[in-house]
């Protein structure tokens, strides 16, 4: 198993939606138990007396950062499949400043306003309404600032690229910076509390220290040379190509697929456009010679293993024909027959299959066949006595 699962097509949208609800549940519970459903607690951050927002946020960032580095080091995370937000410098500076203003005026941010709304805080509900209205307003006025919105485009640009230091060093620096920020925040809280003659917010030093010792140790694990299990990563990336999809693609857009026959036997009827990979060059060498923009369709015998190791660094989508050559041949390389109890759905299916068969085998043109044809075939079948 290689993470991230959804990006590597381990499951589809319906599963993603169910998982998203579950993740959202935990997200909501954690925000609420941190006190983030209350504007007074969130806004306190900007007056220095209780820096809970800073502590929670930086602890969360460090945990996720170190956790990702750990999973990458042990080879369970394919970093290339992670979606890193792109940097658009100027709109992000402007957006950040404006967001900060909105944050202290409303007392919430978008996520926390949802939690506040759920716990019946009217100000939270109004903030959420405002966010929806603000987004629509942005969309309506978009032409006025389109060029600014797109300015400062640095693409995917990460701190290791900016600072020209190896990633593990950046990770350790972020951990150190977070600890520094916490110590500073606690000192500030104590000072302000003394001034107000009140007690500072509870800080359990032992807990903080324990948490950061563990995170620090994990951060060091990111120094281990990265050894991504390429075979494993690719295993998750190789999808299945259904014969129907392949057949339709061959007709409509043959340039989109590179069909590679990897079977030992040479069949009598070949899949149109299929390249027979000869033993002269290695598979990975052959793949390197391709532009890498097409979807690769490997045609193998149904029970043959996928040659994961030889797929090299092929950049396009890699698929394996579902059911192998036999499934495709059975559907489109042999004359299709219609069973006696075929319903209208089957007939429509049959018509397409017959057209595809004619195209694949080159029998006359691939043009549309007269609608009556399937029935004729049906009759012919009956005459012949049919076959199971």
């Amino acid at each position: 198993m290689t993470f991230p699962l959804y990006q590597l097509d381990a499951f589809g949208q319906p599963t993603a939606k169910v998982l998203a609800i579950v993740l959202g549940l935990f997200f909501g519970i954690v925000l609420e138990r941190n006190g983030f459903g209350r504007s007074t607690i969130l806004a306190a951050q900007f007056y220095g007396r209780d820096n809970r927002v800073l502590k929670v946020m930086f602890s969360a960032i460090v945990t996720a950062l170190v956790g990702l580095a750990f999973f990458r080091t042990i080879g369970l995370l394919d970093w290339s499949a992670m979606v890193v937000p792109k940097t658009f410098l100027y709109p992000m500076i402007f957006g950040g400043l404006l967001f900060g203003v909105g944050f202290v005026v409303s007392g919430y941010c978008p996520g926390t306003s949802v939690v506040a709304m759920a716990s019946r805080k009217i100000d939270g509900a109004l903030t959420f309404l405002g966010i929806v209205l603000g987004s629509v307003l942005f969309g309506i006025l978009y032409p006025l600032y389109e060029s600014f919105y797109l300015s400062g485009d640095l693409g995917v640009y990460r701190l290791p690229d900016l600072l020209h230091v190896p990633e593990p060093v950046v990770i350790l620096a972020v951990v150190a910076m977070a600890i520094g920020a916490f110590l500073g925040a606690e000192t500030l809280e104590r000072k302000l509390a003394r001034k107000d003659h009140e007690s500072p917010p509870v800080s359990v030093k032992a807990v903080r220290n324990a948490v950061f010792i563990v995170l620090g140790i994990f951060a060091f694990s990111s120094f281990t040379p990265v050894q991504i299990h390429t075979t494993q990563a690719r295993q998750a990336k190789v999808g299945k190509m259904d014969p129907w999809t392949l057949a339709r693609t061959i007709v409509k857009d043959p340039g989109a697929v590179e069909i590679l026959c990897l079977r030992r036997e040479v069949p009598k009827v070949v899949i149109p456009g299929a390249e027979r990979y000869s033993k002269g060059v290695s598979l990975s060498e052959y793949l390197e010679g391709l532009p890498g923009t097409q979807t690769l369709v490997m045609v193998l015998d149904n029970d043959a293993p996928t040659p994961y190791e030889q797929l090299g660094n092929y950049t396009g989508r890699i698929t394996r024909l579902a059911g192998g050559y036999e499934a495709f041949a059975g559907l489109f390389l042999m004359e299709p027959k219609l069973s006696d109890d075929a319903g209208p759905e089957d007939i429509r299916n049959f018509e397409e299959r017959y057209a595809l068969y004619r195209f694949m085998t080159g029998s006359k043109s691939a043009g549309p066949r007269p609608k009556r044809k399937p029935k004729k075939v049906k009759r012919k079948l009956k005459k012949d006595g049919g076959c199971g």
Binding site: I21, E32, A60, T63, T112, L137, V207
Partner: protein, 172 residues
């Protein structure tokens, strides 16, 4: 009965980080909430006035804000977020109906709610410029070490601290 105590912020932060990590590992993306608000706004606007959405290059196709908000798993994340917040607030006895403001704030409830709405509108606009909010951009992008996310995060703190003196009376 008194509400349950809040978590220690460091423990609570690690818990939030683990939820974020799980989201990264499962989805390949981080957490997010402003995007769902934008999609919701877009869908509602489309129902009320489709020409507005079609007339805006941003809303109609540029940003990938699909016309049907339920097409995107991020929207489901926010539905879960609402449910999680509700469950936790009921459990911790913090689900009393209230308008929150500083204990000694001279602001009326009406003024507080107006400020909440205005602040929300500003954040709605700001999160579109920044392509995310505190969760999607600062927290998630920050953990992925994106430069823009860190710039955005620093600017949030800068904007907040600069504006804070002007709304001090709301939170005192």
């Amino acid at each position: 009965m008194k509400p349950k105590a809040l978590w220690n912020p460091y423990v609570g932060g690690v818990a939030l980080g683990l939820v974020l990590l799980a989201t990264f590992l499962l989805m390949g993306y981080g957490l997010g909430s402003s995007g769902a608000a934008a999609r919701l706004g877009c869908s509602v606007t489309y129902c009320v006035a489709p020409t507005v959405v079609e007339g805006s290059p941003y809303m109609s196709h540029y940003s990938g804000l699909h016309l049907n908000a339920l097409d995107n798993w991020m929207v489901f994340l926010v539905i879960g977020l609402f449910m999680g917040g509700l469950i936790s607030a009921v459990y911790a006895r913090r689900n009393d109906r209230a308008v929150l403001k500083g204990e000694h704030s001279p602001y009326s409830n009406g003024k507080r709610l107006l400020f909440a709405l205005i602040g929300g509108i500003l954040m709605g606009v700001a999160s579109r410029f920044a392509r995310g909010c505190t969760s999607g951009q600062a927290l998630s992008g920050g953990a992925l070490l994106s430069v823009g996310s860190w710039v955005f995060m620093m600017c949030i703190f800068a904007g907040g601290y600069l504006m804070a003196p002007f709304v001090r009376r709301q939170w005192q």
